[in-house]
């Protein structure tokens, strides 16, 4: 199944990636190859088959609703690329820059 260059660009935005023209070209071809391969699943009749999301039957696990010590703020911020004393810093998203 082929995928168009335009579709690949849209998916890149959804995936929060940006692709160079070369990457876009290679990605369009490679995704087309892979989608062509996985398309063989459509040969199978699965109308009455339940989807299996997990390998084992897992049920919800609950624990008592009791506060426990959590990650210290300094530790949580320690790996942040940009931060101040108490927050992660991101580019401005409201108003003019």
């Amino acid at each position: 199944m082929a995928i168009s260059r335009n579709e690949v660009e849209k998916v890149a935005l959804l995936a929060r990636l940006s692709l160079s023209p070369d990457e876009l070209h290679a990605m369009t071809r490679q995704l087309g190859d892979i989608l062509g391969y996985v398309d063989q699943l459509s040969q199978l009749d699965t109308e009455h088959v339940e989807p299996m999301a997990h390998a084992l039957d897992v049920t919800n696990c609950f624990r008592e609703d009791r506060a426990q010590p959590s990650l210290d703020r300094e530790l949580a911020l320690a790996n942040a690329p940009r931060r101040d004393e108490e927050c992660y810093l991101v580019p401005a998203v409201l108003g003019e820059l």
């Binding site: 998916v11 935005l13 940006s18 398309d39 530790l75 942040a80």
Partner: protein, 528 residues
């Protein structure tokens, strides 16, 4: 016999009886790494000082007759996908090049409590995506049996370091064959346990319904020793199963009476290398000579396993990897780490600097839709991810995002989940007739570096025999069963029903009592 040639089991006996000290063992492995890892490049980091300090502490505690853990003094290498508190955990990616986790993965905490000596972090395909280790953002690892060839992946560094005797034990993770394939290509033993057997807390997530941590060792016995420490319930991983962990290392010597082996008809078709097929068939004859009966079984949907896997795994990956946003941790465009000095697997501490007016190498595509959604924050995400991720990771994120997007979800993801059930039903039926399924672990021995790097689909098809165990959750193991005409190791794949790791290990041990493939080691140049 050199210290580093011993199996982990023998080494542990030497340590426990006081014939060798943990410091001597640690020094012997560090010396081996120093000499061999220039060529093999299995390690991303070697924590020599910390390992020696730990070994000294264990020796002192032994002298003082204090209680010691079950792996006391044994060096263990960790795939760099496992979080180690305060220590670099890169996942083979530029994205996490400077990441120091604030906590230990549960398996790391368990290894520390078992008094293992954590010797270093091993190379891997970026975010565990790949089958050759060539997707590491730093450098490829080489197969110790032939340095021009790949060690397999994604846990290639862990497999290569055990094969080259640079560590007696190593930990890996297996999402589609990432422990079993490199174990096979490097001629060592490695196991993917049942999904839920080992806690995934602190394992950097790739595909959460498929990922499982497991052991590498020279022998099945060594894997048993390590699995016993890794396995067990963990309240921090709600998918880890609360059932007792058998004493694998104690039951492993009991042979399996009346063992029924199944050979999968579909696994002996086109694409299977002749040397691999004859080694596997010879291995089956060995089992027959030990009293096993063999019958052919069918997994009718096995030819759909790779297609199913390469929908489900990228879908889960695209969701899991959404967390790398350049905000909380990891790489952010425009803020770059200083370039590193050339180290021999030992990397220096990184210092972050803010690069002013960092120019963007790939300008974002222009278009109406793009313009609307692309505010400064989204552009920062896109640039950070474009620069921080390598080609294979981007490919899988793209594939997963596409397959989960509106209009395609039913045709791809939902469809794959249904076929996943059909594949599981195939295995359940086969295990009504047989105790273990045996076959090849990879279709060919190790291929050459660079040979498949531009053909992702060919690379994916290499996982043909292993992805089934991940999709279905069952345990699988690879053990050495011969060599190709070119002298490359060949792996035998054993698979068992869920939670039958004990059966798998006992079956592997039987084979290793009757053969000596697991004792073969690569001759690296420094020895000549």
């Amino acid at each position: 016999m050199h210290l580093t040639d011993h199996s982990a089991t023998d080494l542990l006996a030497l340590l426990n009886s006081g014939q060798v000290k943990a410091v001597e063992v640690c020094q012997a492995y560090l010396a081996r790494i120093e000499r061999r890892d220039r060529a093999v490049k299995a390690f991303l980091q070697v924590n020599a000082a910390a390992a020696l300090a730990r070994a000294e502490q264990i020796d002192r505690r032994r002298r003082e007759k204090q209680p010691l853990g079950p792996l006391a003094g044994l060096p263990v290498a960790l795939k760099d996908v496992l979080c180690t508190e305060g220590e670099l955990t890169t996942c083979g990616s530029r994205m996490l090049e400077s990441f120091r986790p604030p906590y230990d993965a549960t398996v790391v905490a368990r290894l520390k409590a078992a008094d293992a000596v954590l010797i270093g972090k091993t190379n891997m395909d970026e975010f565990a995506m790949g089958g050759s280790n060539e997707n590491s953002a730093f450098f490829p690892t080489h197969n110790p049996w032939d340095l021009d060839r790949v060690p397999g992946g994604s846990s290639g560094g862990s497999a290569a370091c055990v094969a080259a005797r640079m560590a007696p034990l190593a930990v890996g993770s297996d999402t589609g064959g990432s422990i079993r394939c490199p174990a096979g290509l490097c001629g060592i033993s490695g196991m993917k346990p049942t999904y839920g057997r080992v806690s995934r807390y602190g394992l950097v997530a790739f595909a959460s319904s498929l990922d499982q941590i497991g052991p590498f060792g020279q022998t099945a016995e060594d894997c048993a020793l390590l699995l016993e420490v890794l396995a067990g319930h963990d309240p921090k991983d709600s998918t880890s199963i609360d059932r007792p962990v058998p004493k694998y290392s104690q039951t492993i010597r009991q042979p399996l009476q009346g063992l029924r082996l199944g050979l999968v008809r579909e696994h002996f078709g086109d694409g299977l290398d002749g040397d691999v097929e004859s080694s596997v068939r010879e291995a089956v004859r060995v089992y027959q000579s030990l009293g096993a009966t063999v019958r052919e079984v069918s997994l009718p949907h096995s030819n759909y396993a790779v297609a199913t896997y390469y929908i489900i795994a990228p879908c889960e990956a695209s969701s899991n990897l959404a967390r790398y946003d350049g905000v909380h941790y990891g790489y952010r465009s425009g803020i770059s780490p200083l370039p590193l000095g050339e180290g021999q697997g030992v990397r220096a501490t990184r210092i972050w600097t803010v690069a002013a007016n960092h120019p963007h190498p790939n300008p974002l595509p222009k278009g109406e839709e793009t313009d609307r959604a692309d505010n400064a924050l989204v552009q920062m995400y896109r640039r950070s991810r474009a620069e921080g991720f390598g080609a294979e990771v981007k490919r899988r994120i793209m594939l997963g995002t596409y397959a989960l997007s509106a209009g395609y979800y039913e045709a791809y993801y939902q469809k794959a989940l249904k076929v996943r059930r059909l594949i599981r039903q195939d295995f359940d039926r086969a295990f009504e007739e047989v105790d273990l399924i045996v076959g090849p672990v990879t279709p060919t021995p190790a291929f050459k570096l660079g040979e498949r790097i531009d053909d992702p689909l060919a690379m994916y098809l290499f996982d043909l025999y292993t992805v089934g165990a991940n999709l279905t959750g069952i345990p699988g193991m690879s053990i050495p069963c011969g060599f190709s005409a070119a002298g490359l190791p060949i792996g035998l794949h054993l698979q068992a029903p869920p939670f039958e790791e004990e059966r798998l290990l006992r079956g592997a041990y039987m084979f290793q009592q009757a053969t000596d493939w697991h004792t073969k080691k690569p001759e690296l140049e420094e020895e000549n």
